[in-house]
Structures are given as structure tokens and as C-alpha cells.
Amino acid sequence: MPRPGFVLDVDKSTPPILFHHGENFRLEKLPAGRSRVIYPAEPHPGIDDVDGAIRHALLNPLGECEPLPALLHRGMKLTICFDDVSLPLPQMRRPDIRQRIIEAVLDLAAQAGVDDVHIIAALALHRRMTEHELRHVVGDRVYDAFAPNGLLYNHDAEDLDNLLLLGTTDRGEEVEINKRAAESDLVVYVNINLVSMDGGHKSTATGLASYRSIRHHHNVATMQKSKSFMDRHKSELHSSNWRMGEVIRKADVKIFQIESTLNNDTFGTEGPLSVLQKREWEWNLRDRASFMAMKAGLDRMPTSATRKLFHSWRAPFGVTSVHAGQVDAVHEATLAQVYSEQLVKVEGQTDILTMGLPYICPYNVNSVMNPILVMCLGLGYFFNMYRGQPLVREGGVLILSHPTPWDFNPVHHPSYIDFFEQVLSETTDPLEIEQRFEKDFAEDEWYRHLYRTSYAYHGVHPFYMWYWGAHALQHLGRVIIVGGDPAAVRRLGFRPASSLNDAFELAADVVGPSPTITHFHNPPLVMADVS
């Protein structure tokens, strides 16, 4: 039985605590008596018979929905959509759960005599997936059967000929999604719910949508009203997506949603990374030796090599649930599963919240974690890993640990470079950025061309990354980054610190000399249920 997550009160005998630090790690001693550490639960056991669970889900759908075989018939148009490379993090070991589900769906389709099948990576405004990445997600069998015939491809949010406006919500939000999906007799959406933010109507309403549609919820006002994104019922982002989902439903687009959840087994129980999944006082001689050896190696290796090393890691995630059927019913079951694995009860807020940011976020798979993504991961994702109220009090301080290099991948993030140079050098205020700069970037022909034909994120994407952090920026009194490139950190509007103690000194200006401190020991993933 896995041990649940818990909150550790730091005392004098607490060992130094592990902080992720990009492609490296730090061990930091936290002040005794006023610090606490939130630890994730141990990984829940994965399902032994995953294929059996998938089949059961397809034959016993949730909500008002018929079993999948009853929805499949000869002569129909079937479109299978799946989450892109941003999920899960890190990528999971083969076979990916999406491959297993897609194969099961296709097998039923073949049985029913369905010929017209398209498979689409629902990547919204993300970069296109490479062949290698697609093969990893859907498997070689599906790739070889569909991709050479042009039947497996990336969604293109700028292909006006292949988008269809389905209508508007009661608040005037336009709903424009992939035309093939909209005109299909059945859309099967295959999702991975790594965190509670994923899935539901967001899968289709965002994953298959265009900029024209996505802009209605990916904006500063919506983000600031989402408290938090991880709590769907208090997230304006999700409310907007749910309204759009209703428009899609009324437009007679039939969706069969398949959601899966993974456990917390990010670093495994064997190998050098397994130590990252253990509580520090439980490190044995072998763990300590492997950690020291790993750190010594990482300290001496060039960043490009450590980056390559970490991005080649495939997590041994176990599949903990598969639900299928009507979108809302499926998503509620999925959320219950995610919460049961990740939620940790935490009493009260803190003055200072500390976090170690790892090497990866949803938007730098096989790429560089540039300063904008550091901001997005810290203030957008980790800050929002709460239910109830934020872990840190209003006006408190967030201390992040990350090298924050002034470094960008020019293929994946061309518009990020210009955003960093041209926009952030003028202002870091999300509202001003949105009003003054967004349209130009979003409609820039060169970025559009790179998004459609290369492997670039859409021109507007860095803006969205900034907006993800808008709620945190509004809430926090100061953000400090430990061990980051000072120039890059200052460009973000944050304060650089060379050590955690320096950061505490800097924070004292805002929160006083003896603040309470909470460290968010993440990843493996944990979510705070703050009372």
C-alpha cells in the first residue's frame, strides 16, 4: 500500500531537502521551527491488465453514452484525436497509454468495417510533433498504417480551409475547431490526465481549436479569475471551455471521450534517478552514493549533454484508471482519481513558498527551458497546484530554484526570443502586454509560417505562457529565483539570488525577518489541498 503524501514540519534533525534545479539538483537546509515540506504520495499501483481495463471502459461507458462498438458502423467517418507531446511529463515508457487505447479503438473500428478513419494530434497552438514523437505516442503499427497515407497528422490551427466555426457561446466566445473532427460521425478523444487541469471539454475545445477560438479563454482576465486552474469548478479557463463544449455538443459533434490517469512513478524504483522519489531521511548508502555520483557528473557535464540526458528519460508511469464515455461523466471520474493520488491536505498559507523547478515543462519537451517557460512553470503551473487557496499568502514571496538560462531553441520557440527581447524589455505587466503586443505576434506571417511548416510554437504562445502566471503575479509580493542567470531573471521582472539564504534575506523586506516557509517537494507531482 503506497504511503500518502504528507506535510513535514522541519526541525533541527531534518536533513537537507532536495530541490530540483533544472538539469541539476540542490540540497538545501530549511530553517527549523518555521518551515514545512509538502511531500507527494508514493505511486499508486498501476493496473495489471491495462488492455483489459481499456476494453472494459470502451464497452461500459460512463454517462449517457452507448458502448463504443454500438457507435461504429460501416461507411461512417471516424476521427481519433489524442493529446500531443506535452503530455505526460516526462514522456512515458513504451507502449504509451494512448497507443494502447488507439489500437483498441481501431480494432473495434476494423471489426465494424469502418474505413474512413483520421487520427489527429490535438496540439492547438503547440508545435507540430515530429515523426519520432508521433511514433512514440501512437506506436509504430498505427503510425505505419496511417501516416504514409496522410491519415495521421498534426492539427493545424491556422489552416483556414480545414477549420469550421460551430457557433458562439452565450458570452460571445467563438467556437472554431478542426473541420474533419467537426464533420465526423464520431470523434474519439484519447487523453492523459496527468494533473487535474487536463481533459474534459478542454481536450476538444482547446486541442482542436484555432487562435480565433482559443483567445477567448487564454487571456489575462480569464487567467486571473482562475483560482486555480487545477480546480476545474473554480477555474474560469475551464468554465469557458465547458461553455464551448456545449456549443460543440449542440452542433451535433458526437464525442466519445477516453481519459486515462497515470501514477506518480516518475523516476522509478531502480537506477540513479530513483533517489529523487525517496524521502531524504530514507536515503540509504546506495542512494546517497548514487546521488553524489550523479551530481558530480552533472556538475562537470556541459548543459547540452545534461539536457539531452534528462530528455531521454522515459518515466515508468503505471496506468491507474481508464474511463470512457460522455465527456462530463468521464471527467468527473478522472478528477476523482487524480485527486485521490495527488492531493495532500495542508493547513493554512505560508509567507514564503519555495520550489525547485525541474528540467521539463509541457512546452520544452526535447528542447530548452527558456526564461519564459521558467516563469510559466513556476508561476503558472506549480503555483496553481492547489485547491482551496494558494499555498502562499497574498503579498507573500515565491522562491524558485532554476538556472534560468538566457537560452532559447530557435526552431521551437522563435517568437519567444522576440517576446523576451522586445516585449519584456518594455513591460512585464500581463494586461499591458496583451493590449499592446499580442495581436502583432499572433498574426505575424512569419511565425504563422513556422508554426505550420516547421516545428515552432505559434507566434502568440509566449504571451499565453506569460498569462498563465498572471494570477500568481497579481497575488505575490515578490518572486526570487535562486541560481538563475541574473540578467535573464531581471528581464522577467524577478529578483536573482545566488543562494537560498540570500533569497530568504531578500524576502525579509517583504515578509519580515521570521517568515513561515513551505517547500513544495515536486515532482513527483503533488497538489496541495489548502484549508
Binding site: D48, D49, V50, D51, R94, P95, Q99, E103, L106, D107, A110, Q111, G113, D115, V117, G139, D140, R141, V142, D144, A145, F146, P148
Partner: protein, 334 residues
């Protein structure tokens, strides 16, 4: 006195006898020879002789299906086999057959014991299959090998047992001994690899599956993993004297378990259909193969019921790499 001239003695003979030579000659008369010693060993140190009035028992057969392979599963033999495999067999197969392995994800969650049942074209099949198996299976697998081919003498049997962990299987008659041995090994946690066709394909097309693998799966209640091997017949077909270099494809299928009411015959037929579907998948694509499988239109492993030349011609159309070629490219005579 004769007048005949006295023959000269050879120089060495004429040489005076040395003291050492005299001593050696003396010792020879005193020390018994080795053969003399052996002759002196008597029963019970020697085997008994048989009285003339007694008809002796027929000598115990120690080849063919009676070859005892137990020694080949001891730790020392296993270590030697592993070294032989990693040091010789795998590099050779890699260089000669360049196997491309597909479908391993289908067996990723299975620990064993299992039975791997593959089609059979060539002597290379076993080595190619072994090199494609994940280590957890390969390190504890035995091969069902034809007793009348691989165990005809003790040298061939020893080599087969050591290199492949082969056990002799009688294919010309039904015997309990082979099945019992295989069942005992499976019960002991060993995986089995078997070619249910019972022999190599004579013309590149498959033969009907026999019931051995299915029978053992039913008897031991273990799953069977169908495997399709493509390309080995082009490198070393039956009857060929010379090995060619080329590429091969090994496709693993999902584990099969006997359904309620399945007997060996029915389960063997199902197994054959699954291998045929894998062949279809390997030579076309997964989706088309699944569509044909559900429509009961999977091409048979045994090929078209036509004249020899047409069967040979049809073989050329089954190429897993044909999708890589440009459409409309000229057909190449196989």
C-alpha cells in the same frame, strides 16, 4: 668359416650399448604397460560380462528423443550459453540477418512462462527469434527441436543443447516423453520456443500448424505468444548450402490463451490464424491487417492454392519493406 663377406652392422648397432639404454631395457621388462594394467582391472571395476546363455538387454539409446539434456540447464552450461550467445550468435545474426523487431510492446507486461510459437523457414529462425526475445525470456527459454535432426548423434545433440538449450521433440510419432519433459520445464518456469509447423518450409510458404504448442498451452495453462518471422528463407532457405546477408523482421503478437471449449486442434488453428495475421501485418500495415482479420480475409500462411511458379511469384509481393518503395516501382522477380 664361410668366405661370404661379413655384413657390416649399422653404425648404431655397432655402437656399444650405453649404461642408460641397458637400464631402460631392463625397466621395460619389469614395469607393466598401461594396456596390461587395464586388462588387469576386473569386475566390479570393469562392467560385467554377459553369460552366453543370456540374451543381453538392448543398449540404452542415448540419442534422438532419448538424449538427456538436463546438464544443459545447469548454471555452468547456462553461463556458457549466455557467453556464446552474446559473443558469437547475436553478433553473427546482427551482421547477417539484421532483425527488425516489431510488437514487443505486446508482450511488455508478461513475465512468463510462455510459449513462443513461430512460423519456420530456415535454420536461422531459432537464432533470429532468440536474438529478438527480451532478456527476461531469452535467459530462461528452451527450444523444441526435432529429435530426428538435431539429436541424431551425441555430438550434434550436445551442441544443440548447449548452444540453444534445445530439447528433443519427436515429430515422426507421438511420444509422452517429449511432452512430459516440455511440460515439466514449463512448470518449472521455463519459456518454450517452438515451430508448430514441425519443419522448415519447402517453398517459402507456411505449412499447417501441428497441435504440440496448443496441447502444451492447454496442459500447462500458459499463454502462447504468436511470432512471425519474415526474411530468413531468403538468407538460408531449406536446402541452401550458402548463407546470404539480408534483413529480417520479427513480429510479436499479443498473448493468446485457450478459449472455453478449445481443444488442441482448435487452439492450434487459432494460433495459425494469428501468425497469419501477423504475417499480413508485417507485409502490409497493421490497420489493413486488422480489417482483413475481422472480415476473415487474412491471407493464408500456406499461400495461394496454385501452381508452383505462381506461388513463387506471389511470395515476392509479401515484403514488409515494400511500403518504403515508391509506388509504381517495377515488380522485382523474387
Amino acid at each position: 668359416m664361410s668366405d661370404a663377406p661379413r655384413r657390416k652392422r649399422p653404425p648404431e648397432a655397432s655402437a656399444p650399448l650405453t649404461k642408460a639404454k641397458v637400464l631402460v631395457a631392463f625397466a621395460r621388462t619389469q614395469v607393466p604397460s598401461a594396456s596390461h594394467l587395464l586388462r588387469g582391472i576386473e569386475f566390479p571395476l570393469r562392467p560385467p560380462t554377459v553369460p552366453g546363455s543370456i540374451e543381453p538387454l538392448p543398449p540404452q539409446k542415448r540419442t534422438g528423443a532419448d538424449y538427456d539434456t538436463e546438464w544443459a540447464r545447469r548454471p555452468t552450461a547456462r553461463a556458457a550459453r549466455r557467453a556464446l550467445f552474446e559473443g558469437l550468435i547475436r553478433p553473427t545474426i546482427s551482421a547477417v540477418a539484421d532483425p527488425e523487431v516489431r510488437g514487443l510492446d505486446r508482450v511488455g507486461h508478461i513475465d512468463g512462462p510462455v510459449i513462443f510459437a513461430a512460423n519456420h523457414h530456415s535454420h536461422l529462425d531459432t537464432a533470429v527469434l532468440l536474438s529478438a526475445l527480451p532478456a527476461r525470456f531469452r535467459n530462461k527459454v528452451f527450444i523444441a527441436a526435432a529429435a530426428d535432426y538435431f539429436f541424431t548423434n551425441r555430438l550434434a545433440g550436445g551442441a544443440s543443447a548447449l548452444a540453444l538449450n534445445a530439447i528433443p521433440i519427436e515429430r515422426t510419432k507421438v511420444t509422452r516423453r517429449s511432452a512430459d519433459l516440455a511440460a515439466d520445464l514449463i512448470a518449472d518456469g521455463w519459456n518454450m520456443a517452438i515451430f508448430p509447423e514441425g519443419g522448415r518450409s519447402p517453398d517459402g510458404w507456411g505449412q499447417a500448424f501441428r497441435g504440440g504448442a496448443a496441447y502444451l498451452a492447454l496442459r500447462c495453462d500458459v499463454p502462447v505468444i504468436p511470432v512471425h518471422l519474415w526474411g530468413t528463407d531468403r538468407l538460408l532457405p531449406k536446402g541452401a548450402k550458402q548463407l546470404k546477408r539480408g534483413s529480417t523482421v520479427v513480429t510479436f503478437g499479443a498473448a493468446l490463451r485457450p478459449a472455453d471449449g478449445d481443444d488442441s486442434r482448435r487452439f492450434a488453428a487459432r494460433l495459425e490464424r494469428e501468425v497469419a495475421a501477423l504475417a499480413d501485418e508485417a507485409t502490409s500495415d497493421w490497420w489493413s491487417a486488422r480489417q482483413r482479420a475481422h472480415a476473415d480475409e487474412t491471407p493464408s500462411l500456406s499461400g495461394p492454392d496454385a501452381s508452383a511458379w505462381r506461388r513463387t511469384w506471389a511470395l515476392g509481393e509479401r515484403d514488409p519493406h515494400q511500403r518504403d518503395r515508391r509506388q509504381g516501382a517495377a515488380k522485382i522477380w523474387p
